[in-house]
Each structure stands twice: as structure tokens, then as C-alpha cells.
């Protein structure tokens, strides 16, 4: 009896010492259940075929990149609803500037990153200097961006050169480049959040902005930087998507529901919407859950409407699995 609890405690202490976010237990559960269902009702590819594992990750790359930025702003108790249209603008602008020519690639990348930085800067400035609720601010900028992009482009625009598609489809040995990029971005995000002064300040701003300010953190600047980085990750996701599609279309971002999905994955990953709590690896787990669900549903041939219903239910259940024990009332 005592040994059992002791070993249980030991396991817990071990798990805590290597900081496995609880989302990974859900991830493994969903993977096992999905794989089993696949064995019983379909051809059992999920357990047999390692390529499908890679595919799960490749499917999650764009969402994963945005979710890294979203995690940063949510940690700072902010939110960004404008990422979907930032993705669209990037996709369209980059393929418009490239026009299928290699020489135009650097300037296209420069242009879209400047646009992204500007969007993030504006978001951050409005939120911090005008004291506007981030939800409303980024909803507003999202509407503005959607207006601009739908007024100027209505269909596939421009073309990316063949070489640029390496970003989306290339492989280094057996590993797709896209996965490496995702890992790099997540690592970068983790480093920023967990290993730099900026990260600690961001936690402080998210947890209690007044305390952070009184202890000498330039809260506004921290939040503005977080928003700029968030928009930059959206730009990167847009570049990745356009390299896969070959040409940019204005509906890329909203059709992928990158705004709400990135928020959902971040929260599933254990980052609190109220800020000040969370981490990058949890978000990666949340993103992989979305990827696995997508793959499992495809394998089982679930009809698309049921898929939507199940996705909604699983988001709520996943988040409920840790909020359930909290003593604080949700809002």
C-alpha cells in the first residue's frame, strides 16, 4: 500500500522533474484510441505505417507555427484574432511579388515580414497605448485586413517559383523540411519563453501587469514585442502555405480557421487564457492532437459534419480535463 503510493509519488515527481505537460497524456490516449479504431474499422495504417506519423506532423505545420506566436501573446494575457488574415495577406502578397521568378524571392519575403511586423506593431500599440481589450482590437484589425485583402485580390494571385516549394515539399534525407521548420520555431518559442528575460517578463505581464510594472518591467514594450512576434509567425505560416499551394489566395487563412484553431490548441496545451501560465511544449502537444484527430478521421472515413462535431467536443473535453480540478471559477 505505502509502496504503491510511494512509487506513484515517485512517478509523479519524475514526470514533474522533466516537465511533461499533461496534454501529452491526452495526446497518447487519442493516438492509441484512434489507432485501435483504425485497426478495427479501417486498414490499420496508423500503427503500421511510419509515413503516416510524419504525415500527422506535416499536416500540423502551419497551425503549429501560428500557435507558437499565439502562445506568446496568450501568455501575456492578450490574444490575436488577426492571424488568419495576416496569413492570407502573406500568401497573396508573397506570390504576387514573386510572380514565379527566383530573383523576386528575397524581396517578397522582406515585404511580407515588414507587413507582418507592421500588423503586430499596430495591434500591440492599440492594445497597450489605447488600453483596448485585445479581443476587440484584433477583431477590428482582422476586419480591416479582410477588407483590404478582399478588395484588392479576389482569386489566386501570382505564382511562387519552383525552388520556393522546397519549403513546403522538400526533404532533408528522410525528414520533410516543414517538420524541421516547425521544430525550429517551437524551439525558438520555447527558448524565448523559458530561457530569456523577455519570457519571464511576459509571464509577469500576463500574471499581474501591475506587479510587473511596479517591479520595473516595461509592460507595454513586452506586450508589443509579443504581438510583433505573433504576427511574424503568422507570416511564416502564410509563406509555408503558399509554398505548398503554389499560388496565394485570399481565403487561405480564414478557411483554415487559423485564428480560433491556434487559440484552441494553445489552451488545450495548458496555457491559461487569462495569461501568466503555460508553455510552448504544451502548445505543440495541442497542435499534434489536432493533427492526429484529422488523420484518424480521414482513416476512418468519418463524414465531415460528424468530424466537426467531434472536434468541438474533444476541444472542450481536453480543456475540461485540467480545468475540472481548479478551484477558481471560470468566466
Amino acid at each position: 500500500m505505502t509502496t504503491a503510493t510511494a512509487s506513484g509519488n515517485g512517478f509523479r515527481r519524475f514526470a514533474r522533474s522533466i516537465h511533461i505537460p499533461p496534454v501529452y497524456y491526452i495526446l497518447i490516449l487519442i493516438f492509441l484510441v484512434g489507432g485501435l479504431l483504425d485497426q478495427i474499422f479501417a486498414d490499420g495504417q496508423i500503427f503500421k505505417n511510419p509515413a503516416i506519423m510524419l504525415n500527422i506532423v506535416v499536416r500540423s505545420v502551419a497551425l503549429g507555427i501560428v500557435a507558437v506566436g499565439q502562445t506568446l501573446v496568450i501568455t501575456g494575457a492578450s490574444i490575436d484574432l488577426s492571424v488568419a488574415y495576416t496569413i492570407s495577406i502573406t500568401a497573396v502578397m508573397s506570390s504576387y511579388v514573386m510572380q514565379g521568378k527566383d530573383v523576386n524571392v528575397p524581396q517578397a519575403i522582406l515585404v511580407v515580414f515588414l507587413i507582418g511586423a507592421a500588423i503586430g506593431l499596430v495591434n500591440g500599440l492599440i492594445i497597450t497605448k489605447l488600453h483596448i481589450n485585445p479581443f476587440i482590437c484584433t477583431l477590428g484589425t482582422s476586419l480591416i485586413l479582410s477588407g483590404i485583402i478582399n478588395a484588392t485580390f479576389s482569386d489566386y494571385t501570382g505564382k511562387v517559383p519552383q525552388s520556393f516549394q522546397f519549403f513546403g515539399y522538400g526533404t532533408l534525407g528522410p525528414v520533410p523540411v516543414s517538420i524541421l521548420i516547425l521544430l525550429l520555431i517551437v524551439l525558438g518559442g520555447w527558448f524565448l519563453l523559458a530561457r530569456t528575460k523577455f519570457g519571464s517578463h511576459l509571464y509577469g505581464v500576463g500574471g499581474n501587469p501591475e506587479v510587473a510594472r511596479l517591479s520595473g518591467v516595461r509592460t507595454d514594450r513586452v506586450l508589443i514585442i509579443a504581438h510583433i512576434i505573433c504576427s511574424m509567425t503568422a507570416v511564416l505560416a502564410g509563406l509555408f502555405l503558399v509554398s505548398q499551394m503554389g499560388s496565394g489566395a485570399p481565403w487561405v487563412g480564414p478557411n483554415g480557421v487559423y485564428d480560433l484553431n491556434s487559440i484552441a490548441t494553445t489552451v488545450i496545451g495548458g496555457t491559461a487564457l487569462s495569461g501568466g501560465k503555460g508553455g510552448m511544449w504544451g502548445t505543440l502537444g495541442g497542435v499534434l492532437i489536432f493533427g492526429i484527430l484529422d488523420t484518424v478521421f480521414n482513416q476512418l472515413g468519418v463524414n465531415p459534419y460528424l468530424k466537426t462535431v467531434l472536434q468541438g467536443a474533444i476541444i472542450v473535453v481536453a480543456v475540461a480535463s485540467y480545468t475540472l480540478r481548479s478551484k477558481k471559477e471560470a468566466a
Binding site: G147, Y305, E329
Partner: protein, 335 residues
């Protein structure tokens, strides 16, 4: 001596001052709405300065106003309801199948969708209260469930048309009303639900408790407010109002797969333009209604100026930010 000569003066300035204070207390949404509406009247006299024209405007603005009232209550509680857009889609799609092109089915259909509204709100409220999932995520999940369920039920395409007696709530008028000419049903529905919401929110303990919870959950809990019950009731009210709004929107727009897209954001925007701050603790039924009216008037104004839809979105975005910035700056000055 000096005081006696001064008193009448201060008295008169007090009256002026109190009038000025009263004017200053009027939320900015009312003058803003008035200015936009008068501009509309100047640009198109026959459509916006005649009684039938105003009635037509109220008919188009009423559905969003009803939805905004429900959303306002959830916002006052400190939460969000992102599922109202999916509820509108649900009402229209499910009704297109349930009606089976027979006017006799209209009443049972409305009862059934209202029942679903209660269930949706109940689940939202229970998930937020008992599973402690933030309402943003809970209602986001519900949005997917409701939309997927509705699309799955009709098989991905509308299954018929909406009968005339069903669409009457959004589309038709009562003819030959003395004094007013023709009055849209939508306006009557709006008035009825405004009265209900007004009594619930401004005249009962329930309304005060909603505001208390939005202001400080812990404090209201300690002072004996049944937080969970109030939450569940509020989410049910919001969903039911969204169902009513959906019936009216369906009446105007007809069967359409994308009918509810973005409605949740518009409802939140309407509340915000009406001066209701996100985060809870503040709310007013009439401000929410006029927030919705103002948004509709802005859309009409931009249409009248011949701007295509994308620009309308962009200007709407700018105005939302502007409205909140204005409210923020004035409230800061008070402090």
C-alpha cells in the same frame, strides 16, 4: 451677506450643471447613432426620413439587436458566447428540413428549435460552471458541435424552403396600423424581447447578480449568489435569444449555408459599440440594442456611398476600435 447674493447664482448654475451632467451621462452610442441616421436621411431622404423607410430599417436591424441583447448578458457576466452564429445557421438549416414545405409545421418547428436553444445554452452553462472551461473555449466547441450537427442533419445542403408564415417574423409587416402605417413583425418581436430582457436584467435580483458575478466572482459567491445557477440561466437566455434572432434572420435572408457566419463577432461588436466593456460587470439592454442599430446604420451608410462589401468590413473594423478607444479614454478621464 455675500453668501446670500451668491446662492441664486450657484443655484442656477447647479441646474445647468445637473443638465450638463445628465447629458454627459448619455452613452456616446446614442448621439453617434443619431448622427449616422441623420446623415443617412440627408443622403437618401425617401428611404430614411419617412416612416415606412424607418420601419424597413428597423426590420433589418432587429434580428441583430435581439442577438446582441443575449450576448450582452453573457458579456456582463464576464464571458463570451461564440456559439450564437452557429445557432443562427442551425435554426435556418434545421427549419428548412423540419418545415417540409408545409406551413402547418411552422409552430412545432419553432418550438423544437427553441427547445434546442435551451439545451445548447444549458450545456454551455454547465460546461463553464461545472467543468470550469473558460467560456471562450466552451462556446467555441459548442459552435463546432452545433454547426456540424446542423449540416449533418440536412446533409450539407438546404432541404427545402422556409414557409411564408415562418418567415413572417423577419420579413412581413402588419399593414394599416393607425399612426405608423405598416409595422414589421420583427419590430414587435424586438420590443417584446426587449421588455422581457429589461425586466430580467434591470428589475430583478437575477440581473444584479449577473453584474455582481461579472464584477467579482469570488465576492458574489461569498455574499451568497448562486454563481453556477445564474451562469447557466444566462447562457440559456443567450442561446434562446440567438434562436429568436436566427428565425428573424432566416425570414429576411432565406435559406443560405453561410447565414450565421460571423454573427457571433457582430453581436460582440454591437455590444462593444454600445459601450459594454468586455470582462464583465457592466451591461445595459438598450445600449446593446443601439449598438446593433448603429452597426446596421453604418453598413447602410457605406452601402449608400457605394462602397463594396470588403471596404464595409474594413470600415466596420476601424469603427469598432474607434468606439472602444473613445469609451476607454472617457472612462479614464472620469478616474
Amino acid at each position: 451677506m455675500t453668501t446670500s447674493t451668491l446662492t441664486p447664482q450657484t443655484g442656477s448654475s447647479n441646474i445647468l450643471g445637473s443638465i450638463w451632467a445628465w447629458i454627459k451621462k448619455i452613452p456616446p452610442v446614442y448621439p453617434v447613432f443619431l448622427i449616422i441616421f441623420i446623415t443617412l436621411g440627408i443622403l437618401n431622404h425617401s428611404k430614411y426620413q419617412t416612416l415606412p423607410g424607418i420601419m424597413t430599417f428597423l426590420r433589418t436591424a432587429a434580428p441583430m439587436a435581439v442577438i446582441a441583447i443575449g450576448e450582452m448578458m453573457v458579456i456582463a457576466l464576464g464571458g463570451f458566447d461564440l456559439s450564437v452564429g452557429a445557432i443562427v445557421t442551425f435554426v435556418v438549416l434545421v427549419s428548412s428540413k423540419l418545415l417540409a414545405n408545409d406551413p402547418a409545421n411552422a409552430f412545432p418547428d419553432i418550438m423544437i428549435v427553441l427547445g434546442f436553444g435551451v439545451i445548447i445554452g444549458l450545456v454551455n452553462g454547465l460546461v463553464v460552471s461545472y467543468l470550469k472551461v473558460p467560456s471562450f473555449i466552451a462556446t467555441l466547441g459548442m459552435m463546432l458541435v452545433v454547426r456540424g450537427g446542423a449540416l449533418g442533419y440536412v446533409g450539407g445542403a438546404p432541404q427545402g424552403y422556409l414557409t411564408d408564415n415562418w418567415t413572417a417574423f423577419g420579413r412581413s409587416y402588419i399593414e394599416k396600423v393607425p399612426l405608423f402605417g405598416r409595422v414589421p413583425y420583427a419590430l414587435i418581436v424586438l420590443i417584446v424581447f426587449t421588455i422581457i430582457a429589461y425586466f430580467l436584467f434591470h428589475r430583478t435580483h437575477y440581473g444584479k447578480q449577473v453584474l455582481a458575478i461579472g464584477d467579482n466572482v469570488r465576492a458574489s459567491q461569498l455574499s451568497g449568489v448562486r454563481v453556477k445557477l445564474v451562469r447557466v440561466i444566462t447562457f440559456i437566455i443567450c442561446s434562446v435569444f440567438a434562436i429568436i434572432g436566427g428565425i428573424m434572420i432566416g425570414g429576411v435572408g432565406g435559406v443560405n449555408m453561410t447565414v450565421g457566419t460571423g454573427v457571433e463577432m457582430q453581436a460582440i461588436a454591437a455590444c462593444v459599440v454600445g459601450g459594454i466593456l468586455l470582462g464583465g460587470g457592466k451591461g445595459n439592454v438598450f445600449n446593446a440594442i443601439f449598438g446593433a442599430f448603429t452597426l446596421q446604420a453604418i453598413i447602410n451608410l457605406l452601402n449608400l456611398m457605394g462602397l463594396p462589401k470588403p471596404y464595409t468590413d474594413a470600415v466596420q473594423g476601424l469603427l469598432i476600435i474607434g468606439a472602444v478607444a473613445y469609451a476607454g479614454i472617457t472612462s479614464m478621464r472620469k478616474r
